[in-house]
Amino acid sequence: MTETEVFLQQVIYGLSNGMIIALVALGYTMVYGIVELINFAHGDVFTLGGFLALTLVGALGAAAILDPNTLGDSSHWLLLVGLVVTAGIFCGFLNVAIDKVVYKPLRRAPKLTQLVAAIGVSFILVNIALFWGGAPMEVFGGGNAAAASKDFPEILEGSNLLGEDSNVVLRLEDLAIFAITIPLMIGLTLFVNRTRLGRGMRATAQNPVAARLMGINTDRVISATFLIGGFLGGAASVMWAIYNNTISFQMGFRAGMDAFTAAVLGGIGSLPGAMIGGVLIGLIRAMSDQYIETRWTNVVVFAVLILILVFRPSGLLGLKQREKV
């Protein structure tokens, strides 16, 4: 492999991984923007989305789906979109339910109380994912070792689009991530900027009391935020699953941490910031793996983060907030 090829390859991987992180980060940043809660459970909602997707694939019969003779070629994409939507809706409603049961009664409690409640929810969800993984379903290859990682079947054909002889690998999965993530991001941006509910969101984020006085139903806005944030998390979990082909009950931890980092890096509360932050972290990881050493990658990511924040204290795109008086 030449240096250029290596660099190109790392850019591809960095972007793909970064897009997934960005999708999770959007969920963090939206919820934070509205209720100022670092939703620690978001990563674990994401995990459950992955488990739902795997269960669905198993229930539908992975072999039948992957056989082009039975369903035709486009069925792969159909299935993928179907999974994204189902897992998204599931995670969205799960997120709303968690908000209703756990966070809502604490809305007036100190911020850190909500944070600890979110940590508690995260533990509960991890346990649910553990149980889910222990279910002796055919989808897990008959194995019911609960804590083991699960193989997620290849939904898209895995060959190299640039030809089998090419040193640079670009697979359908990489394209799928772009094909699904980018429209979702555009849709979200349009929704927040152009619709009535989106305007309500922005108003609530700016000043909840004033928004309520202006006749905005802030409870509805908050629910919608959790719904959309959860939806993006669920969608991200399917993207993660088809890209890594593995899910495990603890996968939300690292995904959540990366996403949280991305959200802060981009400027917490800022949607384009979360996207840029996610992609940036993906790229930094790839480049550090290649040009430094994998064992230093985490250090590099967080060192860059700290450096950026020292020079831009509100993240890349965050607004400089005035001190509250």
Partner: protein, 408 residues
Amino acid sequence: MKQRIARTVATLLALAAPAVLGTAALAADAFANSVKIVSSLPRTGSANAQTTSMVNGIKMAIAEVGGKIGDMTILYEDWDDASPQRGNWDPAVEAQNADKAIADTSVVAYIGTYNSGAAKISMPKLNTAGIVMVSPANTASGLTKAGLGEANEPAVYRPSGKINYFRVVPTDDVQGAVAADYAKEIGLKKVFVLNDREVYGKGVAGAFEARAKEIGLEIVGTDGLDAKASNYKSLVTKIKQAGADLVYFGGTTQTNAGQLAKDIVSGGLKAKLIVPDGCYENAFIEAAGAKALQDRCFITFGGVDPKLLKGKGAEFYENYKKTYKAEPEGYAVYGYECAKAILAAMERIHKAGGTIDRAAVLAEVGRTKDFQGALGTWSFDENGDTTNRTFSVNTVKNGDFATVKVVQ
């Protein structure tokens, strides 16, 4: 103010109630004429899959003797050395398990630990108390062998000067060498050595690297990976650039060996992969997908495939399948063998008319010689290590492990 204090007290009482209940339950522990074997393994979190099969193996061994040696009842308790907030082995919990075992005079044997790091904490404690400790999983060479770890190892783990720590698994230095020899044998030349930056993985990868250099394999790179990373595609690209035809990964299923195997395939790296016995379990195939492993991944294991066992081993295989309705795994055999060795020692004490207590069990386990177990015939040597040097090299064929070579 008064109300506030009352509320505080009420909260505290509500919180204390389960503690008191648990305490009371603990107090009722003494059975007449019984001794206890305990195991201390991480039961919460990601190692749960592996430790469950070990516990199954231990339980089966005890059930096979009917839970009794003579008229002495053998009780078994499965202790967790992980805590929920850690999700992994917790040094404080391992320390308190050891303390608990020491304080409970009915405990005569301690099976554990899973992580070599945890062993370093409980070994000196149990050594001082003179309780025999048999590990089904620790492979760090320094725990028993001088000159392979720190300068003061293993003496620091033996404050009493006596040996109380035994293990049924061969150590890293042996296993790493087997893997390197096999790599050379199948004609591989350039190897990239990875480890998971944990005690076990680093130890075995280090041993592999040393042996590989000795026999003339070229090391084209080394790195330590992050077991929690989502994928290793970027790392695989780097390996590809280095031109390796073999990747050696010192790590376990738990530290993401499955993901690495997948990314090697999807990244278009046409290299073989060799992993140690931490991956000799169905969960590895389950995590990596059989396709990614077929004829391309080799797994070394300190023993032979349970299916190929004869005599005692074959019995174990049949019995396990019947009891748990699953194929026994490498880990299950190790757990079973630990318990078997301890029970056999008790049996010998009983036959000789002695009383089964800590000192007797410790001495007798140390005398284990030519033991015919599920892993073959083996003894404990003067360091407390198994003399078993039988290794098998396995690959995956049609979704199951298939032995390609047995090294004596």
